[in-house]
């Protein structure tokens, strides 16, 4: 895995200060454990769709909004931020789609 360039992930929420930061910590941990090199940043609802990222991770409401116009290749919608298994499953599925 070490030869691959890191994927670019954006954790997004309305303001970029609360849930996005929370998601960033979880996403970094999941990708690190899965051995996937990644750069994870946070963004608010205005900035996130303009970033040419591989994956945006956010809640279902913003995901719906981003799907219309985001530049990211994959959008992951997390319903329950307390459920690490949900985040992991959806995130790693998106990583596999990138690779496939």
């Amino acid at each position: 895995m070490s030869g691959k360039p890191p994927i670019r992930v954006v954790a997004a929420c309305g303001l970029g200060t609360g849930t996005a930061l929370y998601l960033k910590m979880t996403v970094e941990e999941i990708l690190r454990k899965a051995g996937i090199p990644a750069v994870v940043e946070t963004a608010d609802a205005t900035l996130a769709p303009t970033i040419t990222a591989d994956i945006i991770v956010t809640g279902p409401d913003l995901a719906e909004m981003f799907r219309q116009r985001a530049r990211a290749r994959e959008i992951v919608a997390v319903t329950n931020y307390g459920n690490k298994a949900e985040i992991q499953e959806k995130l790693l599925a998106a990583v596999r789609r990138l690779e496939g």
């Binding site: 303001l15 970029g16 609360g18 849930t19 979880t26 409401d61 319903t79 329950n80």
Partner: protein
């Protein structure tokens, strides 16, 4: 900062509220009463949900109302509002029974609190059950202390 220290007794238990904005307002006013935020911050907490949707309902039964540091946050702190009958945000995670509002003076001061929040959210089901069971702020403090201590 420790979660309970950041909460500093700002706990309000309600049977019901008229609508979600009322619950968010009460959570913000608890912060404003202690000088942690300006009144404008409370308005921004509500506006954010009106403009961007109910994304602050981030786990089943749990919402985290907040605004930007530059919207009038003066200090680092939390408040807890429990709505025992639940309140509807129009979210997948309705009905919300536990609101944990926060203010942070910059974009990183609250990272430690978010980590502790993660431990609480991992037990969102527990939290909403506690909303039905616990009747006083003292009981909530005890309960939060016990689950935060249990967490890795």
């Amino acid at each position: 900062m420790d979660f309970l220290e950041a909460l500093d007794g700002r706990i309000r238990i309600l049977e019901r509220v008229g609508e979600w904005a009322e619950a968010v307002r009460i959570s913000g006013e608890l912060l404003a009463a202690d000088g942690l935020v300006a009144p404008s911050y409370v308005e921004h907490m509500i506006q954010t949900c009106q403009e961007l949707g109910p994304y602050i309902a981030i786990a089943p039964g749990v919402a985290i109302p907040h605004a930007r540091p530059e919207d009038g946050a003066k200090g680092l702190g939390l408040s807890l509002v429990v709505v025992r009958e639940g309140v509807w945000f129009g979210s997948h995670n309705d009905p919300v029974r536990v609101l944990i509002a926060f203010a942070t003076p910059d974009r990183s001061a609250h990272i430690d609190l978010l980590r502790q929040l993660a431990n609480l959210l991992a037990r969102a089901g527990d939290l909403t059950q506690a909303a039905a069971r616990l009747g006083t702020p003292e009981e909530w403090k005890e309960y939060l202390r016990s689950i935060l201590q249990d967490s890795p």
